[in-house]
């Protein structure tokens, strides 16, 4: 690199850090000074959403809707995963990637990690014998079983405890969310999470325009910001609707291993399985109190 190239590069780089593109300077300042989501008034939220939708339209030439749907009163979401049924097909992984507009490459972000274990090997508490990059011709591979892991939506989430700016917090319906704009990208939450559930936008958010899911939530699957952390939100853009929809992973599971519902509703499927099946939660010894129950139907 000669000096001229360097200076040019330096100037562009500096501009990228400090100076907004000239035509978008008002929007840049609004983004920079944007308030903390939980302290926004309904008017603030409306304005922010309008700005984001406009930005997305200019950038991706697509009408992306950003909802700010509030939690439904009297709802606490819980999740059940039937380990007797899971066949390790990873359809949930990719349904999640598509639904939640996760970066496709460099690196691809996935909220769900499916771990493969060999029969008879240690598992549950010691995951070191697990294989994350298994790739057999067909699943389930003989003599193997599977355990998908994603955000366990802890009632006492270590990530929320350590976040220096309160950018990540537990919403009223028990979902742990991130205000991507408020996150400073320190990644302390990633160190604190015992489940490897939090993912960082190491590079620029990238989803092919024709694959963008345009039904988004501010705290969920809207286009992500480089340098901020994201995570599973139980498909907040779906489950907070009335009538609610199942999460993408529940919907796609070909063997019906995934259950979802309201823990406060005694008649819900999730309550039924907690009360009648043998359930366990991952890393119980850490007292994070997950709302994600593994169980065995067989």
């Amino acid at each position: 690199m000669d000096r001229r190239d360097f200076l040019k590069g330096a100037a562009i780089g500096m501009a990228a850090i400090a100076i907004p593109p000239v035509n978008a300077s008002a929007s840049y300042l609004e983004t920079f000074f944007q308030k903390y989501y939980r302290e926004m008034t309904p008017e603030d939220k409306k304005k922010v959403v309008e700005r984001l939708e406009k930005e997305y339209r200019e950038k991706y030439h697509k009408d992306i809707r950003v909802k700010t749907t509030e939690a439904i009163p009297g709802v606490l979401y819980g999740y059940g995963l039937d380990l007797s049924r899971c066949i390790g097909c990873r359809r949930c992984v990719y349904a999640c990637v598509t639904e939640n507009n996760l970066s496709r490459s460099n690196p691809q972000i996935q909220y769900i990690t499916v771990l493969q274990f060999k029969n008879g090997e240690k598992w549950v508490t010691d995951l070191e014998e697990s294989e994350k990059y298994y790739n057999p011709e067909t699943v389930p591979a003989p003599d193997h079983f599977y355990m998908p892991v994603q955000c366990q939506q802890c009632e006492d989430p270590p990530c929320v405890r350590v976040c220096p700016t309160q950018a990540t917090y537990k919403a009223e319906d028990g979902i742990v969310v991130v205000d991507y704009n408020w996150c400073i990208g320190c990644r302390y939450c990633m160190a604190a999470c015992p489940y490897g559930a939090r993912k960082f936008n190491w590079g620029e958010w990238n989803v092919p325009t024709d694959q963008i899911n345009t039904n988004t939530h501010y705290l969920g699957n809207r286009p992500k910001i480089k340098g901020s952390v994201e995570k599973c939100t139980f498909c907040i853009q779906r489950v907070r609707e009335v009538p609610g929809r199942y999460t993408a992973c529940v919907e796609i599971c070909p063997v019906g291993a995934r259950k979802f519902g309201n823990l406060l509703d005694p008649a819900s499927e999730i309550r039924l399985l907690i009360e009648t099946k043998r359930v366990f939660r991952l890393k119980e010894e850490l007292n994070t109190n997950p709302k994600f129950y593994y169980f065995f139907s067989l």
């Binding site: 780089g13 990228a16 690196p107 994350k132 700016t165 490897g196 960082f200 007292n287």
Partner: protein, 408 residues
């Protein structure tokens, strides 16, 4: 006042050939670091080798080590003010200046590690206090910086005015800064220590060992700097002061090694699943062994240095003492940098092993930050020495201060 700053700039610009080479070398490193940082800021942290598995790397490793170096001052402040040990009292100022440089480097390293440094102000508006140890760390580090800047500025201001500093002013600063120095280590240790998800850090010995190793690395660096300083300028550093510091280092290193041994015994003897990060450090895990050579290097460095420091003969011999200082610096740098941070993430919480070594950009940015620290220190020393020699003064031109009155 204006004249003083004019003179100061003249002093900073003036120097022998070695000085210019040194400053240009540092400026070159800073330039390279800025260039790399611009690339990182433009493309994102993807230019580093960090990943979702090992989400903190070289920046945070260096940060942790530098927090330790900042302890150099307390190791000299205690004997000089509390015990009024004259030989060290003469040079305590240089330790406080080292603390300033170290803390500035810490802050820069943390900023380099942030995904969105421009959002940093959110920390001031909605700090998650007292829950987040990171907020505590921001408070104690900045507080420590302010304390040391106050102490150094006051002492230099008095000296430039031709007067000795007043203990009535220094006492409060000293009395606060001693526990404060311990707090920066304790809080930084707790930052890692409090995470139950990472068994390698979640051990009660982490904070005590932090302090023990900090009391080695900072003073070791001081010993080397003092010898360079007295070679290059007329600043008086007695052999007595140096050998006393070396003696302190020997005790601190002994304690550090003892605590480490306690930890190693617990992990390897009980041989639970939590031994995995230790195994990764010392022997490699499932064929992954990138840190193994570093770990053993650190081990050999620390043990050799301890031996050289504990034997009075080798401690007082400048050749072996300097060699031991170098060994300690390398040993603690590995042990408390990469050796502490990376195994926290290996294996990761889902059992995966991701081999991390820094990328070229991480190395260059870090080198740039080290150069900023070194340049800052050079300039501070270059300000302090002429003040003590009476060449740089706030007094009217022509009147020379009584230099002897500045010695304590």
């Amino acid at each position: 006042m204006l004249n003083f700053f004019k003179d100061l700039v003249m002093h900073l610009l003036k120097g022998n050939k070695a000085y210019y080479v040194w400053v240009l070398f540092l400026l070159g490193l800073i330039f390279m670091g800025v260039e790399s940082y611009i690339k990182q800021a433009t493309d994102g942290l993807i230019v580093t080798n960090m990943s979702d598995q090992v989400s903190w790397g070289f920046y945070i490793s260096n940060f942790t080590f530098m927090v330790g170096v900042a302890a150099a001052s307390v190791m000299l402040v205690i004997p000089s003010y509390l015990y009024n040990f004259k030989p060290i009292k003469e040079i305590v100022l240089f330790a406080e200046m080292l603390a300033i440089s170290a803390v500035v480097m810490c802050l820069l390293l943390v900023v380099a590690d942030m995904g969105k440094p421009l959002a940093g102000w959110h920390l001031l508006v909605k700090p998650n206090f007292p829950s987040s140890l990171l907020v505590w760390d921001v408070i104690v580090l900045n507080g420590y910086l302010i304390l040391n800047v106050l102490a150094v500025t006051y002492v230099l201001y008095r000296a430039a005015s031709g007067k000795a500093y007043k203990m009535s002013v220094m006492w409060p600063i000293v009395l606060i800064s001693i526990p404060w120095a311990f707090s920066i280590h304790t809080v930084t240790a707790f930052l890692y220590n409090g995470l139950s998800s990472r068994p390698f850090w979640n051990a009660s010995i982490v904070a005590p060992r932090f302090i023990a190793s900090a009391l080695c690395s900072g003073p070791a660096l001081m010993l080397i700097i003092f010898q360079i300083a007295r070679k290059l300028s007329e600043i008086e550093v007695s052999d007595e002061a140096l050998s006393k510091i070396a003696e302190f280092i020997a005790y601190a290193m002994g304690l550090n090694l003892y605590l480490y041994a306690a930890e190693l015994f617990k992990e390897f003897y009980s041989n639970s699943m939590h031994v995995a990060p230790m195994e990764y450090l010392f022997f490699g895990l499932k064929g992954h062994n990138v840190l193994v050579p570093f770990t053993w290097t650190a081990m050999v460095c620390n043990l050799t240095a301890f031996t050289l420091f504990i034997i009075p003969k080798t401690r007082k011999n400048f050749l072996t003492m300097n060699f031991a200082c170098l060994l300690i610096f390398v040993g603690v740098y590995i042990d408390k940098g990469m050796g502490l941070i990376i195994p926290g993430f290996v294996p990761d919480t889902l059992g995966e092993i991701y081999d991390y070594l820094p990328s070229a950009i991480e190395l260059k940015v870090t080198a740039g930050i080290w150069a900023v620290g070194a340049l800052l220190y050079t300039f501070m020393v270059k300000t302090a020495i002429p003040i003590y020699k009476g060449e740089l003064s706030l007094l009217p031109k022509g009147s020379r201060p009584d230099i002897r009155s500045l010695h304590h």
